[in-house]
């Protein structure tokens, strides 16, 4: 039985039935990683020893009847910008190539509290800046559906590992689409929660007002369960919301009868692949047949979302990455004085995209430019958020493509601007703090997964989960792909 390719729910059921052990589940994942990851490159660090020890403890707990949770013993992978104590955390960068976190991220503590063995840390674009994982300073990650194509980014390793059956589920992070876009490219479910739902403590900061931890999974049910596992108030994160975590599992069977679903007017959508348009059409039909009311709803200023996002993200990134100066951690290149040491360390530690964003961020925050760029972007952000608020008075959920195209080839997007455009449908949710979910829905002519995105009002994950669950039942041709040698 190829345990590694099963969903988390299936593994949990087999564990509960005593048909497999957690050690066997972890061994299955590790075996598949050993066989395939040389080509795929999802994992930066494989935590074989730690995972097997954790699995063994889980099996022990099961024998003694003191399970920690429903997911006790189910393996999980974690993006390499989430701290796991004692395990190297690179953030895909030379700057932190040897960095070892002194404590766990809040979400990692949650995983451990619930007994989930962590099988490894996954590859990513450097400091989460990118949409293809091509900007990882460490290694290439390939899309399991086509090894010449990118898995998306920045959580490319997490998405690819789930798609290739190396792990049932994984954590990622999403600042402008970094969970949903790779989910779309890799044919898996990607969820970004409402801003503040999940603690950011221990998530390496990129853009603090946009960052959220998210989930990558094979099914909506798994994604909802993993999100429920990591959500919740954290005193240690000042942006953490003190709100009840709904029982999302129970809402998956409610259906969409009477639900109002909004789609964008044709005019507001830029160059969308015909196959993706087709998938949207079919999705609308499925939802209508299931009893939903689908209507067009315009979102003003959506065409300014990319510019707004990049100005804010770059500004915040330049501030957040100021801490990497070679003093307390990270790469240090010595200099004649401290300032020279900072300059040299940062020049050597950061890749070209990170440098670009730091420079631009510094520029838009500098005296004389702050109002014209940064303040302006924050004002347009308000207008965009208000626009969504008005839209959600008319509809319950929004349906759009996650990405306008399917996965592109390595090296295809050389121009930074072309790369930034891939986030066109995903950045709005980060700007307005909305929950959003990418669901795989069909394949394009070249056999690559298409992703459709549901977005809901703040704290209304239940509505997007309900809608996604209905669509999931009707999706065509999605299968967990194995990497062929």
């Amino acid at each position: 039985m190829e345990i590694h390719a099963l969903t988390a729910v299936e593994i949990a059921e087999l564990l509960a039935a005593g048909r497999i052990s957690s050690v066997e589940a972890v061994q299955s994942c590790l075996g598949h990683i050993a066989a395939r990851d040389g080509i795929l490159g999802s994992f930066v660090s494989v935590m074989a020893e730690e995972a097997l020890a954790a699995a063994d403890r889980s099996d022990q707990r099961r024998r003694e009847g003191r399970l920690r949770s429903q997911w006790d013993g189910v393996p999980v992978a974690v993006k390499d910008n989430l701290a796991v104590q004692g395990i190297r955390m690179t953030c895909g960068s030379r700057m932190l190539e040897q960095y070892v976190p002194p404590e766990d991220a809040f979400v990692v503590t949650r995983l451990k509290q619930q007994g989930m063995p962590i099988i490894g840390k996954t590859n990513m674009d450097e400091f989460a800046m990118g949409s293809s994982t091509e900007f990882s300073a460490l290694q290439i990650t390939r899309n399991p559906w086509d090894l010449d194509r990118v898995p998306g980014g920045s959580s490319g390793g997490s998405a690819a590992s789930v798609a290739a059956g190396e792990t049932p589920w994984a954590l990622g992070s999403d600042t402008g689409g970094s969970v949903r876009e790779p989910a779309s490219f890799c044919g898996v479910v990607g969820i970004k929660p409402t801003y503040g739902r999940v603690s950011r403590r221990g998530l390496t900061a990129y853009a603090s007002s946009l960052d959220q931890v998210g989930t990558l999974s094979q099914t909506v049910a798994d994604g909802a369960a993993l999100l429920e596992s990591i959500a919740g108030f954290d005193q240690g994160d000042s942006t953490s919301l003190d709100v009840v975590i709904p029982n999302w599992a129970s809402c998956l069977r409610v259906g969409v009868e009477g639900l109002r679903i909004g789609v964008l007017p044709d005019s507001s959508t830029s160059a969308i692949d015909p196959a993706v348009r087709n998938a949207m059409r079919q999705a609308v039909e499925v939802l209508e047949n299931a009893g939903a009311v689908v209507d067009t709803v315009p979102i003003p200023y959506l065409d300014k979302a990319i510019e707004t996002y990049y100005l804010i993200a770059m500004a915040e990134a330049s501030s957040n990455l100021a801490r990497y100066d070679g003093v307390r951690y990270g790469l240090r290149i010595d200099g004649g004085d401290a300032a020279e040491m900072f300059r040299r360390s940062r020049a050597a530690g950061f890749g070209p995209e990170v440098k670009r964003r730091i420079m631009l961020g510094t520029y838009v925050l500098s005296a004389g430019y702050y109002d014209a760029y940064y303040k302006k972007a924050q004002q347009v952000r308000r207008l965009l958020a208000d626009g969504f608020q008005q839209a959600f008075a008319q509809v319950d959920v929004l349906l759009t493509p996650t990405t306008a195209t399917t996965a592109f080839r390595f090296g295809e997007k050389q121009d930074p601007l072309a790369m930034y455009q891939t986030d066109i449908f995903t950045v709005p949710a980060n700007l307005a703090g909305l929950p959003a979910l990418s669901l795989p829905f069909g394949l394009c002519g070249e056999g690559l997964p298409i992703g459709l995105q549901f977005t809901a009002a703040p704290l209304r994950e239940d509505l997007m989960l309900r809608s996604a669950a209905v669509l999931e039942k009707f999706q065509m041709g999605r299968k967990v792909p194995y990497v062929t040698a």
């Binding site: 404590e103 007002s209 940062r346 303040k375 302006k376 004002q379 958020a385």
Partner: protein, 95 residues
Amino acid sequence: MAKIDVARLAVLAHLELTEQEQIAMRAEMASILKAVEALQDVETEGVEPLHHAVELTNRMRTDDCLSSLPQERVLANGPHVVQGFFRVPRILGDS
């Protein structure tokens, strides 16, 4: 748009860039900044900037002493640690 003073920005950002890198950086920045010019068309008179998606106010905790990371763990990643200090080259130069 005024020519971007990449050299000055590099100093502010504490980045050492070669002459070549500065030239490339200037071109890339100009191109990206040109693209975001589109925002100037949006009427934002009287619009309050949105700094955070979910607008919360600071929640203060009681001033209780809690445990923190042991010093050895904090120092463990230090590139150059001397007697419990992070050692760096001299801060104040001749300038």
